[in-house]
């Protein structure tokens, strides 16, 4: 009987240990930037969600489209209704894996390669994104910068406003994760 309880205790402890490999972020910052002959467009959200499984390397990202804030409210409205159609496709998601397995117990900065599927405007694209992972006393921060072509996600830009919007949008992602217990 004693043995069982000891083993069960050990098992429970091990459950706790595996639980430590999950990291979550509720306020990932995602910003987009487009530069075009007539006007620059910049928008930002800090409502992205992300979960990182350090054991498997799995990385999931989800950003509500409607939370992107633009300096001009009209831009925001058009971004939602005309381009991203957020009423039909409310979220942009990314599901992938981090190739490297950085040592999360050691403080430091590690370059990472993220391979996965980016789903924007209900169009999935396989992407390989270069980023950076920093560990600071158990707190993980990931950053990445990459370009997204509007055409890749069937986001059509009409000729009339062609000069207002660039064909490629620069994305910046900054997410800080804490361990999930």
């Amino acid at each position: 009987m004693k043995h069982i309880s000891i083993i069960l205790l050990a098992a429970l402890l091990s459950v706790k240990a595996t639980g430590q490999t999950l990291y979550a972020c509720k306020n990932a910052q995602v910003s987009l930037f487009s530069t075009a002959p007539i006007e620059d467009i910049a928008a930002k959200t800090s409502s992205g969600n992300s979960v990182y499984n350090a054991a498997s390397g799995d990385l999931v990202f989800s950003v509500p489209i409607t939370t992107f804030k633009f300096p001009k409210s009209l831009m925001e409205e058009h971004f939602n209704s005309d381009y991203l159609e957020s009423d039909k496709y409310p979220r942009a998601t990314f599901k992938g894996k981090i190739k490297e397995q950085p040592d999360l117990t050691k403080n430091g900065s590690y370059p990472i390669t993220i391979v996965g599927e980016l789903d924007v405007h209900n169009v999935k694209q396989n992407r390989t994104i270069q980023g950076n992972l920093t560990v600071n006393n158990g707190v993980i921060t990931m950053t990445a910068e990459f370009m997204v072509k509007c055409a890749d996600h069937h986001i059509e830009i009409p000729r009339l406003v062609f000069h207002n919007i660039a064909e490629s949008i620069k994305m910046n992602v900054n997410a800080t994760y804490t361990a999930v217990k």
Binding site: H3, T18, D40, A42, P71, S73, D82
Partner: protein, 304 residues
Amino acid sequence: MKKHIAVLALLAVTWSAKAQQKSSADSLMNAMSANDKPVRVAIFKSTRLVLAQTTEMVKKNELNFQIIHRFGDIAGTNGGGQTAFGIDRVNDVFFGFEYGVSDNFNLDLGRSTIGQLVQLEAKWALVHQTSTDSSPFAVTLVGEVGAKPYQVATFPTFSSRMSYLAQAIIARKFSSDLSLQVAPTYVSNNTPFPLLPGNEKSFFAVQASARIKLSNHAGLILDYAHPFSNFRTKANGFEDPIGIGYEVETGGHVFTVNITNSNSISEMNMLSNNQHQFSKGQYRIGFTISRMFDFNPKVKKDNK
């Protein structure tokens, strides 16, 4: 035996822990994604359709400048090739300035050719339609005061040339393809307009409108208005205003081309006095151009 149970128990626990880990990553993601806040639904592309105003507001510190035209009759005795199907004649021009005091409160100023009517308007968005349908429709209240500043024999005093309008606009976007709106309205003119024996000073009216999406940037807009007036009847030469238009939005501009039997643009004129009939060729081309100016302080680009 005890040992076996212990090993089995250990196996079971570690196995379930592994399974949990996989599903917990997904369930954690789902739990975090579940609390999406409801957002305001943009029901229309513009604050104005062909005849009616919409529930849409000009946002804080923004100014919407509108130029609205109604040309002459396309057909009938005043139309035809001689007037380039009405293009040579301008029946009404409306300049409108709509300013966002806040996202939910606008002050608007407008001036019409017909009667040289100058109007001041307060517009208040009471309820917005939300993405979660916690509010299934939008309600906006409109109050207008109008004055015809120039003296004419039939309207001798300034107060006799004043008009008032109160309106509740109720709209809903049923899908991204279809938005509908109905607006019960009360119009009061200090002198009956048009000044004809038997005409009422004040009356109720209703406006009904629709927008059908044609593409992400264009839509078909339909407008109808009916004054509940014993005097404004077909027998007395009145007809309910009807409008149909094509609306294109290009960034900060909204452009509308329309055909309507209404001569006048301001609702106070349009609802009070529409003696133009489709059957007599008294319908015309009109257009609306609007440009949104933004006076919000520029946000610094935090981009390297």
